[in-house]
Symmetry: C2
Subunit: 250 residues, 2 copies
DNA sequence: GCGATCAGCGGCACG
DNA sequence: CGTGCCGTTGATCGC
């Protein structure tokens, strides 16, 4: 495609806040929180009507360069180069795409008022677990009245049958060293504020060996949750329902 | 665009491992690590030749749904619906896009042998800092011979003028509670293995108040580094170089 | 706006 | 492969 024609399309899209897709051969430079460069190659460029800017290669899931929404987009046609820029005034970040060849350019509007809904997040798990603390340990009772200072970011605060406080950190996937560090921080925080025994429980579908070692050295406990079977919200209640749910879903 | 025509383009792209972009009105469902749904709306769908799959709305930087490279892609034309699927055999993840209307479909190949190079990463900073430990504290000397057990993930291990070991954690942006937890874990690890005094220093451009409090309570020290993303090898306090570097870069 | 944390995190390097 | 951790992380929610 003629660069002039591509420029016309890009310019129209940018001036009128349309979405824009350009496919062509370009080099890309970025300066901001870090700095990056990539030599010429054929890539996909997407500019959204909210000022998001994406550069994709033909492989990998992630964009190689990008700028967030509300970037100030501009385009100019220099000698045999179509230059697209995204700049963030506040942070001073700059992204520059220099197109030597354009295979394809398309400006368009999209009508979309929907939002995605995601289920089985960590918050979902914690919420469900809250009502089933028995699966972790008999006699555990959730403490709902948060003394506001205690409950900062602790997933679940509970009391065991001996009256000890129990800090429960919930992870939706394999617990790592980070998770133990996090639990430890919370437990220490509660110990500082409450003159009672405080225990820590890490609740996850699995745990890495190093994390397990660290956890036990700190005197904490691991509790495996099979969240397919026990804890998923009303979405999938049990293993035997899973297949059915799946079939309904798809 | 006719759905039949869109199907032909999609089918050709998938069978021949081309890249594919489709713009149209669709609903999307996902089941895998989590579960998600979104009702009909006009979106951008990108399928790459490596089996990556992306669904973008007209706002925000991030894709709302996706599948990683090597997904098994398929398409079918049902009654008035063009269905695109991406499945991961190993993990059992499934993504389904149901297109009711297609504005645009395009299959294409891309030639791109380049890789992006990123500068001013945390590793870069740590490497540079290693040779300028004086900016942190006078008399600090890096310990290069790693006793192999010690050096796991510690950014910099050093010795101060009193012969104490110093664990240095480097962050390229504002240090948070997480960073302190991480440093603490490393310091404890070294203390366990070495019968010497061990100190901890957190090195970052800034630190949040909570993190500072936590850090000091643990007896660690914060060291502010003023780095500059433009000047990769000589980044400390080079304001006058910044403009020059910027000009060269762009 | 900053701060803290989750994410279907993705990607990378190392064992 | 899993483990650990960085990332121009992004997105969200609370203050």
């Amino acid at each position: 495609m003629d660069l002039k024609e591509a420029f016309r399309i890009a310019d129209d899209a940018i001036k009128n806040f349309k979405n824009l897709i350009i496919i062509g051969s370009c080099s890309v430079k970025y300066f901001g929180r870090a700095t990056s460069k990539i030599a010429e190659g054929e890539r996909i460029i997407i500019i959204k009507e909210d000022g998001s800017f994406l550069v994709h290669q033909n492989k990998k899931l992630a964009a190689i360069n990008y700028q967030p929404p509300k970037s100030r987009i501009s385009c100019e046609l220099a000698d045999d180069v179509l230059i697209l820029k995204a700049a963030n005034r506040r942070t001073g970040e700059q992204l520059e795409v220099r197109l030597k060849e354009v295979k394809f350019a398309y400006a368009f509007r999209l009508k979309d008022d929907e939002s995605i809904r995601v289920f089985a997040t960590e918050k979902d798990l914690a919420k469900d677990l809250m009502n089933k603390l028995d699966v972790i340990e008999e006699g555990l009772k959730p403490i709902k009245e948060e003394s506001s200072v205690l409950r900062g970011f602790i997933d679940i605060l509970a009391e065991d049958k001996n009256g000890s406080l129990v800090v429960i950190e919930v992870k939706r996937r394999t617990a790592t060293l980070d998770a133990v560090s996090q639990l430890k921080r919370y437990v220490e925080e509660v110990r500082k504020r409450k003159d009672k025994p405080v225990r820590g429980i890490l609740c996850a579908p699995s745990i890495t060996p190093n994390a397990k070692t660290y956890l036990e050295r700190e005197g904490f406990k691991f509790s495996k949750i099979d969240y397919d079977a026990t804890t998923q919200s009303d979405w999938i209640k049990s293993v035997e329902n899973k297949q059915k749910a799946l079939e309904e879903f798809f």
